[in-house]
Symmetry: C2
Subunit: 711 residues, 2 copies
């Protein structure tokens, strides 16, 4: 996690809204990237002045060319670098000298090709820093700004997209061309379209801060291949959503962390990078999409229409089958089909043929024409029990597809209830779909995707309303200094593992419900400690050399009296000496044994990108066989800790399913929150397992029975 | 489950391949169904003779019309009925008298509109039976046969599809128009296209038997709204696949069984109709699709190319991002990326630019033209470690899309390795996609769907090879007569529930591992039985009035000697008398208690459509909280019983995970197979729970500890 200086709004804006541009390294080779970019800027009618810079050409297209950028007689706002990477640094020096502060570096051959390229990338970044230049790239497709004030297509895409309120930012350049083409055919417009490539200077986080304040952008789409600074990404995403309500839709290719070192803790082995991204995006409110189609399905819905106020939707169809499929999907996605008001039912009964289904989902029947659709849609819009409308159409020979599309366009915008459509088929319905798409009515080839998209907008709206609940509890009864000291001292001694009796001290400093304990160095001491903390007790060997103490007879449970305690002390030492005679023994740890309760596992894992991640699940088979755990990035809010506990499938067991007692959820919550605070305060902790935490019956608290800290 | 007489191949073939057709009830009203159908047959150039029958018209289009079908001077092979339902029976009488044996009934207004319609439907079915007529419909869109020998479009679809080797049969008429339109735009051709509507006579099972033997059909698609005879559907599907290797892809809208009565057994409450359909389709080899897009994604792959021989595929792309997304999906779908042979790597290294990724997935880089794609594809085809190739293309400004498409068309068919494509975008790649689709190269807008489709064809191929393993074990040491007698006697007495001591006898007759037991009617008798079967024993009240015997103190466990046994007898009677003084007591059931073992639940539920369904899962929380169960329709083959046990998530627990002992899987398998045989032999059983079945350590067997049978 670097602490890079964030770009200001103005710095990004200067790249996107230049009044003059020098294309440095262009030429007249039609079909080459250096020419295509120049040509695109020129012929897509950039509103400012364009200067070609080319070592060999007198003019590019029909515009007078300059040998060096410093030769340009006027001030230049922005430079686009298209020289090969081998000479990029030379050109950058000149750009810096010219006083240009904004750049897009298209050229490839940097970090993406290996160590040599990385060297070149570092060099250009150094030059940029020296001259105070902000730049996008290298190794990118370029940028597009559809704002008529600027109208800039500084990319080698095939065509400039329509103007719209969706911003798209992408780490992959090649994907951009497919996206532009896909969107163009659907009349999906963009506000800004930015390929940021290797993000050597400006990264996705800078761009998100900018787009947050960009008045032209309502919806933000993002394609990421790696999350370099997850923490900062979550922070900006939360701000975007809380301050502006703009949704962020993201695709992150989910490569499993290959060759991840076999982790020493449960949490380590369960928290794969993709699970963490899932958890983090969810916490930050970023909507993770599985593919481009899903992303644009949702984007259309967010960009064009208001959000559904409740989960109660109506489906109106002229074909039973698709209506059933859409209904199934709606319910599986968390929506429900609203029950019509009496008035609505009356209207439908009066106006639709007898064979029609006047209940929701409404079937206006195969031979329906525009009039029937009109009646049903208008009635549903007026119905107080309905907050979103989904129209399905299949092309029968009598269906007046275009008339129906035009009617839908008319009613959209007359109310704040979203209306989505699915005209099924292809060629026959094409003209109808075109009318819908040109008029910003979300359209979906499959009815299932239509209702799934409405579920996405509904859930986002629900989340917006809950933002006030995202408060984080801070405990004041913690001793950060003490915990830090223990951890730092261990690190100073190059320890990678904290022995239990010290790990327990860290938890005690944070007021975890640690059981009474003590470290014994003789059988008498063991007996005395045990007497003090009362029986039954458990005893465990403490040695930096021994991690799996159970397996070698280093733990004895359920010690009931002084005599047993003293014997146990000797037995443990004997067991250990037999198997690991050279282990350096620090003593035997004596701890109170807690009574019956549900075993729970709490964990913490430090992620390079997102920081500390907290894991929660029930112990034993639940975590090992069912992987029934939940992750959250610390710090965890009050709402999130509730979500966390309730999200696991075995939650009913904590609540007293199957005749068992209800457990002390309140104290469990507090313990998770304390762990979250410890994680934030002490980033030295690499991994931590509390396994088990024994959660007793309601009102009886929970207790740390065993803990492990890795540094 | 009706035992309807199946149609012969000839009966269906006569409907689909008539030499002459009378359209009964047609007219000249352009845009009406009666006219549109006539018009479609005529103008799509039906190869036989067409006769309009209309009470009012002298001619329809320019063809001489007949007042009644009996007026036609020639023999007529097939009649299409388009009269309103109110007069359909009159027309049918005439059709019967004319000696026509094949019909399609387009008219609506039958079963689908309620009780009155159902009456009409019964009437036409009676007339059909009287005259030996086979008919498709009523309430359907019609039929299409693209075979040039016949070339019949007897439907009111907008256009006739291209010829192809895919058959589509659908219960929904309205959906058909969307399907035709969708397929047409993708150059997907059909062999037969049949909307079978209310299936009053010919149903989907008849059609599947026909399509099995139809030489024009290679792939069968099916849309179902209700499965009336699941048993027969499974049977025909198995035959289609085993005898011909034709895949069946099906969409079944998955309405959850609303208002299903609160079931008395675990199995009853867990086996929802959709779970049963999932299980049954899987057993029969039917590939269940989630939506039309997925169905056609798979259909293209099956129809156009050979099946992948192994899971090892190659991905070739000019864009890293989509390559990663496709790789993720491939691995998640059960495919893997083959490791190239040395020779392949050499060729790629030599011929691709340095920045290219020559490992699988191959990245030929954004500026790749046809030559690079060619090199990579050819090398992958020749590689012995690769059995399927997936090509991704994004449209950069220099990409020669059509040339690449043409090259792919050339190599497809030169080997038996399937090649699928994903040209991402829309307008820019349209010409390329058109080349691919016209030449039967499967194309997908999303790379993820491409590899998912390859996973589907691979899995199907794998299953084809396993068909020989689907043998069913038959036990000869069972007494069907005895079991039947117990069940029938209970049914004769109007019992809906079999008391445990009788249920146990049914299981004993099938040689289930039932624990030694006896019924006591006095405390002395209880003591004697317990002495005989050896301690410890359990004792339970037996009364038809008491189902939940545990809750009222009707069960006492762990009885260790004669004295305890006699006391337990009296205590149970006392407990029961207190809560249910009027219960008629049949006695106290004494049963041996088994030692430690894993509790498993076995169940049986009779489904109206599919027959007996067997459930298996681990007891307690596994079934109640995790719903970790699997279903199979009886009879269960040897392979299926293995799949069943291994498919549950808690399977590792049976195998000795977490330090527990490995359980006796062999005896568990045998018990499930015996249950399957009992289910088939005794269809009187409506529901059955064995809960728990205690599975002891390997070699120690399993034991029925409690059982319940509902009639």
């Amino acid at each position: 996690m670097s602490n890079k200086k964030r770009k200001t709004y103005e710095e990004i804006n200067d790249i996107l809204y230049p009044k003059s541009i020098a294309v440095v390294g262009t030429n007249n080779v039609i079909g080459s990237v250096p020419y295509d970019i120049f040509e695109n800027i020129l012929h897509d009618r950039f509103k400012g002045i364009l200067y070609p810079v080319s070592p060999s050409e007198k003019n590019v297209s029909s515009i007078k060319s300059y040998k060096y950028v410093v030769d340009i007689e006027d001030d230049v706002d922005m430079a686009i670098l298209v020289f090969p990477s081998s000479v990029a640094h030379l050109a950058m020096e000149q750009i810096g000298k010219k006083g240009i502060k904004s750049m897009v570096i298209i050229s490839a051959g940097f970090k993406e090709v290996g160590a040599k390229g990385l060297e070149k990338e570092k060099k250009i970044k150094e030059i940029a820093d020296k001259y105070g230049i902000s730049f996008i790239g290298p190794n990118c497709l370029g940028i597009i700004n559809t704002d008529p004030k600027c109208h800039l297509n500084a990319s080698f895409a095939r065509a400039m997209p329509e103007e719209g309120n969706i911003a798209f930012i992408s780490q992959s350049g090649a994907l951009c061309t497919a996206v532009l083409d896909y969107a163009d055919a659907r009349h999906i417009g963009f506000s800004k379209f930015i390929s940021f490539g290797n993000k050597a200077d400006v990264d996705e986080i800078d761009l998100l801060y900018y787009l947050k304040d960009d008045p032209k952008t309502k919806v933000i789409l993002m394609y990421l291949e790696e999350v370099t600074n997850g923490k900062a990404l979550m922070e900006v995403a939360k701000k975007v959503i809380a301050e502006t309500g703009k949704p962020i839709l993201a695709i992150k290719s989910g490569k499993t962390a290959e060759g991840a070192s076999a982790a020493a803790s449960h949490t380590g082995s369960l928290a794969g990078s993709d699970e963490i991204i899932d958890a983090a995006f969810k916490q930050a409110g970023i909507i993770r999409c599985n593919n481009l189609e899903e992303m644009f399905d949702y984007a259309k819905a967010f960009a064009y229409q208001s959000l559904p106020k409740s989960k109660n939707i109506a489906i109106i169809t002229n074909a039973g089958g698709p209506g059933v499929l859409a209904t199934d999907r709606a319910i599986n996605s968390g929506l429900s089909l609203g029950k019509f008001e009496e008035g609505t039912t009356k209207i439908l009964k009066k106006s639709l043929p007898a064979a029609a289904n006047i209940k929701n989902p409404v079937d206006v029947i195969g031979d329906a024409r525009a009039d029937r659709y009109n009646i049903a849609i208008s009635a549903a819009i007026k119905d107080k029990n309905i907050d979103g409308i989904n129209v399905i159409l299949t092309p029968q020979s009598m269906t007046d597809i275009e008339a129906i599309a035009k009617d839908i366009v008319k009613v959209v915008g007359q109310s704040d209830k979203p209306i989505y459509t699915s005209f099924m088929g292809d060629t026959d319905v094409a003209a109808g779909i075109d009318i819908l798409q040109k008029n910003n009515v979300p359209h979906y080839v499959l009815p299932e995707n239509m209702v799934k998209s409405m579920a996405a907008t509904f859930k986002f709206n629900k989340r917006l309303k809950e933002i006030s609940e995202f408060e984080i509890k801070q405990f004041s009864d913690v001793d950060k200094e003490k915990a830090t000291k223990i951890l730092d001292e261990a690190i100073a001694k190059n320890k990678t593992y904290l022995p239990e009796e010290e790990a327990v001290k860290v938890l005690e400093a944070y007021n975890f419900p640690v059981l009474p304990n003590g470290l014994a160095n003789s059988k008498e001491e063991a007996g005395k400690i045990a007497d003090n903390i009362k029986y039954p007790v458990v005893m465990k060997i403490i040695s930096s050399d021994i991690i799996h103490k159970f397996d070698i007879g280093g733990v004895i449970l359920n010690i009931k009296n002084r005599n047993e305690a003293e014997n146990a002390y000797e037995q443990i030492l004997k067991n250990v000496k037999k198997v690991m005679p050279e282990a350096v023994i620090k003593g035997v740890f004596v701890q109170k044994m807690v009574g019956e309760g549900q075993e729970v596992i709490l964990g913490l894992k430090k992620d390079n990108s997102f920081g500390s991640v907290i894991m929660f699940g029930l112990g034993g088979i639940f975590v090992e066989i069912f992987k029934d755990v939940d992750f959250k990035v610390a710090p965890i809010s009050v709402k999130e800790v509730n979500d966390m506990i309730q999200s696991i499938r075995s939650y009913p067991i904590l609540m007293g399913a199957r005749g068992s007692e209800k457990r002390d959820i309140k104290s469990l919550k507090e313990t998770i929150q304390r762990l979250s605070q410890l994680a934030i305060d002490c980033p030295q902790i690499k991994e931590l397992d509390i396994n088990p935490l024994i959660v007793r019956n309601e009102g009886k608290g929970c207790f740390v029975a065993d803990t492990k800290i890795m540094l």
